[in-house]
């Protein structure tokens, strides 16, 4: 589905075609692994065959996976059999957080791996995803909800493009796993 910016915000990107970024636990050959395990002895810019870890259930146990936790959707903590929905314009997004560009002033220190000078986990890897993967999907959308002082987008979410069950949303997010590119850094 489409890419949407909250009212008044200006889009920006740092790659052509545009991509989004997220730091997540890596998975290789169907097993959860770590950056050191998948990168040892490899000098390429990207790590082939490495995908983000997918939660075992509808809700992710932490924000280091390809998934969302119950409080991150709209409505938050939905009761059983309640559908979730995309944000309305101007509302904070309900979905999985992503960043539109790699900038020192955007990335939360506590999510950046220790090896890169942050206080995040060294297990985690940097991943990028072409925006087109979301644009071409049937039921996901990319919504940039916050901007900086110059109204340039600084944060976005991959959220349901329409009202759907949490299980369907989880399945749709998981279906993007193979399209994420693991950056060797």
């Amino acid at each position: 589905m489409q890419t949407v910016c909250a009212p008044g915000l200006v889009d920006r990107y740092d790659a052509i075609p545009p991509v989004i970024y997220r730091i997540m636990i890596p998975c290789s050959s169907g097993k959860i692994t770590s950056y050191s395990e998948v990168s040892t002895g490899i000098n390429t810019l990207t790590l082939s065959g490495v995908t983000p870890a997918v939660p075992q259930s509808i809700w992710a146990p932490n924000s280091r996976m390809l998934g969302v936790r119950q409080h991150e959707v709209i409505p938050p903590n939905p009761p059983a059999a309640t559908d979730i929905r995309p944000a309305v314009p101007g509302q904070a997004g309900g979905g999985m957080s992503v960043l539109p560009v790699l900038l020192i002033t955007l990335l939360p220190n506590h999510r950046i791996p220790k090896r890169n000078g942050g206080t995040g986990s060294n297990v985690d890897c940097w991943f990028s995803l072409p925006r087109d993967v979301i644009v071409l999907s049937v039921d996901l959308r990319l919504y940039f909800d916050f901007g900086d002082a110059a109204n340039r987008i600084v944060h976005g979410v991959i959220e349901p493009g329409l009202q759907m069950s949490p299980a369907d949303f989880s399945r749709s997010l998981s279906a993007t796993a193979a399209s994420w590119v693991c950056i060797n850094f």
Binding site: Y13, D14, V19, S63, L102, I104, L107, P108, N109, H110
Partner: protein, 66 residues
């Protein structure tokens, strides 16, 4: 002059540093602290975020920012 969010963020950051310096960096306790820090990050000013991230290295930029 820093924002109130800055002082709270730095306090949690120091707790996180202490926790992960003593052992594994992916314990549930560390993730819980990180979750608490998430909403504070975008309340910080751009200069505060730059100051906190002064030692951070980013992957090579794919191309020129638009």
């Amino acid at each position: 002059m820093h924002t109130a969010a800055y002082y709270k963020y730095v306090s949690l950051l120091n707790k996180l540093k202490d926790l992960i310096s003593a052992g594994p960096d992916d314990l549930p306790e560390a993730d819980a602290l990180r979750d608490e820090m998430d909403p504070l990050w975008f309340q910080l000013s751009e200069s505060e975020r730059a100051e906190i991230n002064k030692n951070v290295k980013l992957p090579p930029s794919p191309s020129i920012e638009r």
